[in-house]
């Protein structure tokens, strides 16, 4: 280990089905804007992929304020899926994204299966879009999202509809607010998804005891950040043992150590979410840290550690 090993950098390329990435470090939807917001602080070319804020067919104004609140080692958000809508995304956001040197994955959300299918179809025609991530799990909007992500049959239906509408690689993003995450992943796998990503936020709440009102105007919101990492890691491990498609690990990842835990648990790639807020350098530091770990382990490739958790079970 301590000997002067070869200086050949470890192989970092990974594939999510047909989607090939230079490395496994992505930024998570809703936490990295449309990329431009971080362009002064992050070398976007170094990202394995950049997942944009969830896009719907029509623009959405989102929820009234307050929308964010800090919790112990985490935060709640009730953005309400504010986004510029498909057309403005294509015309105002894609031009920058096409030039930023990173793979671009568009996160989509809809109120109906049709909407998902139309989004997928239209985005297939947009130059520079490398893949789709389908948000079936956002807990913030009253109709739509929630049900898709908690009933295997509905998740399967969305998956099939999106797959039929596009030949882009399709990642289905799972909600953690379910009894049996493996069953959700299995349904999505069997319906043709190219990969699954998890977890989206846990549903949470906070109250201001002085005003005796919820701290979020929407009352409930999505919990993210280091607080949820143990739950995310457990679910990724369960799902990776269940499905045959690649798994993308998300939830509370802020350091290379965190990311490596997810890789060992079976994730082929990871997404950095809330950490971008408190440390914009996180994604780059994590990439560097994984490379250093591989070198220390004498591993020549990232694939040497994916799923290599040692258990007797």
């Amino acid at each position: 280990m301590d000997t002067l090993t070869t200086a050949v950098p470890p192989e970092m390329k990974i594939s999510l089905g047909p989607l090939h990435l230079a490395n496994p470090v992505m930024t998570a939807s809703g936490t990295f804007g449309y990329g431009a917001e971080f362009s002064n602080l992050v070398d976007l070319q170094r990202l394995g992929a950049l997942v944009v804020k969830g896009i719907s067919l029509e623009p959405r104004p989102g929820n009234p304020p307050p929308r964010v609140v800090e919790t112990a080692c985490g935060m709640l958000n009730a953005i309400g899926l504010e986004n510029v809508g498909l057309d403005r995304f294509i015309h105002q956001k894609m031009p920058f994204l096409r030039t930023c040197g990173s793979r671009i994955i568009v996160n989509i959300l809809g109120d109906s299966i049709d909407e998902y299918a139309i989004l997928a179809e239209k985005l297939t025609l947009v130059t520079g879009v490398d893949g789709l991530e389908v948000n079936i799990s956002c807990p913030n909007v009253k109709k739509g999202g929630v049900a898709f992500g908690t009933v295997p049959e509905m998740a399967a239906a969305v998956t099939r509809a999106v797959k039929n509408a596009t030949d882009l690689p399709v990642i289905i993003k799972l909600s953690p607010n379910v009894t049996d995450i493996a069953a959700m992943a299995k349904a999505v796998d069997e319906s043709g998804a190219d990969a699954v990503s998890l977890i989206n936020t846990l549903i949470g709440m906070a109250i201001d005891i002085h005003s005796q009102k919820p701290k979020l105007a929407n009352i409930i919101g999505g919990l993210s950040g280091p607080a949820i990492k143990p739950v995310a890691l457990r679910m990724v491990w369960q799902v990776a043992r269940t499905v045959s498609i690649p798994v993308v690990g998300i939830g509370g990842i802020g350091t290379a150590e965190d990311a490596i835990e997810f890789l060992l648990a079976g994730a082929s790639a990871v997404q950095i979410g809330t950490a971008n807020f408190y440390n914009p350098a996180a994604a780059e530091q994590i990439l560097t840290g994984i490379e250093a770990y591989l070198s220390r382990q004498g591993a020549s490739s990232i694939h040497d550690i994916i799923g290599s958790l040692r258990t007797t079970i």
Partner: protein, 260 residues
Amino acid sequence: MREYQENSVVQAIDRLSDSFHRLTLFAPRIAAAARPGQFVMASCGTTLDPLLRRPFSIHQAFADGALELLVKVIGRGTSYLSTLRPGAELSLIGPLGRGFHLTTHGPVTLVGGGIGIAPLLFLASHLPTDSKISTCTVLLGSRTNTDLLVLTEEFKQLGCQVRTATDDGSLGHHGFVSELLPAALPGAHMVFTCGPHAMMTTVARLCLDAGIRCEASLEAHMACGLGACLGCTIHGAGNTYRHVCKHGPVFDATEVAWTP
């Protein structure tokens, strides 16, 4: 417009009053790029709790790389800042957001309440010279006199005319600082304000009624400060949402829905 993630170093910390601490940081890249009305996001701790950075207006920025923040202790993050000692590191992101417009020609009035005074000193020291510094009137309000004494002097040294108001009457006008504005409005080409929302609402209304342009620096809880999380929403005019970190923190008074 560039932002930096910079590990600043504390050069000095001055306790101006029971409530206000002034932090002098060495942050050359941010200081060089900073413009009045902009802010920084500061890491208020060395662990994951508290997790998020806190926004602070840039109180002063100097060519030698010094950057000043005026901090009022209200919770865990600001308490942490008040305990920093010279030599300590403080991670900053900045300069962020849209600052004040410095293009006005003619007399200006600055209205600051409480910690809202913070960005106004940087503004006062960067007003265009052709607007003649002697025509800058500053109205400062606070709870009590001790919070204001040092700052009043500093505005005066910049050549501003200062009038004060305190809630307890211990200095200047006994009452709200906004009550000083009607007398200061005639002749003002522009008003800049920062302070409690209710105060800014009054100021904005007085200005709009008088047809005088007014810019206000607003607050909202922020996760990123970069326009990415979409968390820092306020109600904008015309039933819109605006994001304080990107569209602001400085808004033209006409852009804001002052009565929700």
